[in-house]
């Protein structure tokens, strides 16, 4: 019974999403209520599963041989599913207000809700094939969201997104094959499922496969050099950019890499090999690269997208450390970054919604006119920089701690990259804050006199996320302890 609820939480949003264009809603409001109820119920169900989780896995279908579609709840699932289900209701609420200015809401909300189910599918996947399946599906259901505006730019962006994602999956696919042949099982088992006897002398081949799979899943996590889809995908409506391209989609990539590293190949097999050095070096480069591009970028959402690129590689860096501590760091940043980045994206979206301004240099003097929005933006900026007392510090702390503990000289370099990136984060975030609050002497106040904070549907999520940022920053111990348990296989 409990097991089938796992299937229910995946199917409920997908089916409701399909229903949205079909049901005869009289008013927009009815659709809003319907969707919000579905999303909230689903989130409650997810939390129900997580708190009272079933021990057994649930097998839905069987492909050839031992390849099955099956679902299971473990610690990683709890983290990712918990995160996604906590954010989705707020993001939906925000989307209701944001989308008033866009067309074709129905199809938008249809796919938006379907994505929820598919993302949960990734979280609940019990083996590599299931994850791969939902991973591909995720690409397909989010493409319509990227091309929603149907501008030429949006269509090109969605194509790039599609090619990159499917291409990445093609390389990840290779690892699936190797796991079916060299693994004792394709189920996710903490510590890895490789059968070392079968591997024998083909260690190097498997390491190569690991690197390819890392890069393949890394495409969704926007690892350099496969990152260019993410800034381009910023043409999508902001609820998409914020929730999908800062949390759900990109974190699925990071989640998949964590699964791959800790649960399929296993750290025993990978640690200390050249593969570890290669992937770590790539993540380190991406960390710095993303930030540098963010500094150069003048389009607000694209700047945040580059920031996401860099921050995702924080998570991947944690994964590449290949120690329980590294996993703790990665999980911490996965959750905390989600909150910080979604907050800053929602701020950017609120600015675009209220003022139709898209570029950083257009933000002069808006701070006093939209105090809520820019207050939250400042908070998220400080958190992203890693000011102590806010969420970002804790996650960086855990990552750095793991890096120091690993004693690997390359990971010391990783700490340097983290700090350089923190500095660049300050550059690209605080220049915006300074502009908004200190527009300069000769600034004409009349240019912004009409501008107001957005309505409650937008402000409430912002405030909630700020509260999360502060709470995570000040009382992180329960969360971090939980992550430690996950990393040590207690859940």
């Amino acid at each position: 019974m409990k097991e089938s609820i796992m299937l229910l939480v995946i199917l409920l949003p997908v089916i409701s999403g399909i229903l949205v264009p079909l049901l005869p809603f009289k008013k927009r409001r009815h659709m809003e209520i319907f969707l919000e109820i579905v999303v909230v119920i689903n989130s409650l169900l997810v939390w129900g599963i997580l708190l009272e989780f079933p021990e057994e896995s649930f097998t839905l279908a069987r492909f050839t041989g031992n390849l099955t579609i099956s679902f299971r709840v473990d610690g990683m699932t709890m983290v990712f599913a918990g995160l996604v289900s906590a954010l989705w209701p707020f993001a939906t609420l925000y989307a209701f207000e944001y989308m008033t200015r866009e067309e074709r809401e129905r199809s938008f909300f249809a796919f938006y809700t379907m994505t929820y189910g598919v993302t949960l599918g990734i979280a609940l996947a019990g083996n590599m094939l299931t994850m791969y399946f939902f991973y591909e599906l995720l690409t397909l259901v989010t493409v319509p969201l990227v091309m929603h505006t149907l501008s030429r730019e949006a269509i090109l962006a969605s194509r790039t997104y599609l090619y990159y994602s499917l291409g990445g999956a093609a390389f990840a696919f290779i690892s699936l094959i190797f796991l079916t042949i060299y693994g004792s099982t394709t189920d996710f088992i903490l510590g890895g499922a490789l059968d070392l006897e079968r591997v024998g002398e083909r260690t190097n081949t498997l390491l190569l496969v690991y690197v390819m799979a890392f890069l393949g899943f890394g495409v969704k996590a926007a690892i350099c050099p496969f990152n260019s889809w993410l800034p381009k995908a910023g043409v999508a409506p902001t609820p998409v950019t914020a929730l999908l391209h800062a949390v759900a989609v990109v974190k699925s990539g990071a989640f998949a890499i964590l699964r791959l590293t800790y649960f399929s190949f296993g750290t025993d097999f990978l640690e200390g090999t050249w593969a570890q050095s290669v992937v770590m070096a790539i993540t380190m480069f991406t960390i710095v690269y993303g930030c540098s591009r963010a500094v150069k970028e003048t389009h607000l959402k694209r700047r945040l997208a580059y920031s996401t690129i860099s921050n995702l590689s924080y998570i991947l860096f944690g994964a590449a450390l290949m120690s329980p501590a590294g996993m703790v760091g990665a999980l911490t940043h996965m959750v905390f970054h989600a909150v910080m980045k979604i907050a800053s994206f929602f701020c950017a979206g609120a600015v675009m919604h209220q003022t139709d301004r898209h570029y950083v240099h257009e933000l002069n003097g808006l701070g006093y006119k939209m105090p809520w929005v820019f207050g939250v933006f400042t908070l998220s900026a400080l958190a992203l920089m890693g000011v102590p007392g806010l969420a970002g510090f804790v996650s960086k702390w855990n990552l750095a701690l793991a890096a120091v503990e690993s004693g690997n000289p390359l990971s010391y370099g990783g700490i340097v990259c983290l700090l350089i990136s923190a500095l660049l984060t300050a550059v690209y975030m605080l220049t915006i804050v300074v502009r908004a609050f200190f527009p300069g002497k000769d600034f004409d106040d009349r240019a912004v006199s009409e501008i107001r904070d957005p309505g409650w549907k937008m402000v409430v999520p912002l405030v909630v996320f700020s509260a999360f940022i502060v709470v995570f920053g000040l009382y992180s111990s329960p969360f971090v302890e939980f992550f430690q348990k996950v990393a040590n296989g207690i859940y």
Partner: protein, 497 residues
Amino acid sequence: MDFIQNFPFFSIMLSMFSGTVCSVLPRRAARWVNTLMISLIGVLSFVLLSYLVVRGESYVYMMGHFPAPWGNEIRAGILEAGTALFFCVIMLLSMLGGRKKLQEEVVESKHNMYYILVNLLLSSLLALVYTNDLFTAYVFVEINTIAACGLIMIRQNGRTIEAAVRYMIMSLLGSGLLLLGICMLYDLTGHLLMSNIQAAVQGILEDGTYEVPLLVTITLMSVGLAIKSALFPFHAWLPDAYGYSTVSSAAILSSLVSKGYIFLLIKIIYRVIGYNVFGNSHIIDVLFVFGLMGMIFGSLNAIQENDIRRMIAFSSVAQIGYIYMGIGMGTGVGMTASVFHILSHAATKSLLFIAAIGLTDVSGGSRHFIDLTGAAYRNKWAGVAFTVGSLSMVGVPMFSGFISKLLFAQAAVQNHVKMLPALIVLAISTILNAIYFMKTVIRIYTPEEGSEYESVTFKNMKTYAVTLVCFILLNVLLGVSSQPIVDLIEQGLSMFA
């Protein structure tokens, strides 16, 4: 002898018979006879398949009264029966899906002719599948070629005639090489029946005589069949032939005709030359390399194409590359993957051709991408079907393409030398597939404001829509419950050897 053992013979003869009958019947009646006959042969094949599965071994059926080594033989195993069944299904669906288009595109007086050709083609394909005699195989290869040319040319415009001529030349070149190979083999062994040749070949190898002529023979036969099945770089005839002929022809040609030749090649590998001999001859490596190149270049050509039909045609080149890569892998698993891909590609490619015609029809008949904008909204069924076909081609789980990809990759892993090139090319080719297929999907789902073209609804295209649904189901069936099919293929291959 069980009565059922006559079925292969019946199938071939029924098909020929109905072809003859069609020439004198009225047009509608011909259509019905044709449809019924294909269905009937399908049923026969299915019964035969069940019979063979239960029986667990293949049998040889003697034609006429002359015993081996003089007579003519038919041989039926699980693989033969299964392929025959599958060919019938695809052919039936392709005919149904393209029926309306056929009426529009082909002059009315030629319709009977078309059914004759189709029946002829089917009989030759069945003969290729069932025969145990190399010379019979050659004869039906030629019949097949002629029928295929007719299918291309039946829609009469300059393009198709040119395409047919090209096809004819390339095909004849291929069959010429095949004939040379068969002649040399006959010289070497003195036999035409497959089982006898194989025994003789073993003898030659043990003696150590005639090694070089044997190699030349293998080369000639492989290259001949490769040309006929459009392996890269012998694919120049393909895009025009598939791109401009009427849609049923395109679907049949791409899913069945070239597959028939590949099936024959596999048969020759297993039953004539002997799997090990072939595997040691290095021809296999050449096929492997050409397969890989086909996977890349076919897709690259497809990306550059602006015409949806030609794009799908070029995609066939890439898919045939997959099949040859599997053959070239030189392992049993690779062969299984190839055979599965023959089925999966046949199901998908004909689906794509049929769906594409629905899309072009609601875009003023234009096949250019620009005009296809929003076509999926105008013909929803075709849009969904095309998307399913594309996803299958890209290799999304739950569709047949994923399973072929999975089998290919698993096969690759077991060959240490060929593993890396195979896997990497497989991944790259997936990306390339994604590029051109998903580009098209996005294009047809991009709404166009104020389009001048009219939409069609279910009422106007019942047969067409049902065909598409059948194709989609077939595709999903192959994708979801592939294990029994793979098991059957493995059994069939083991019966071959």
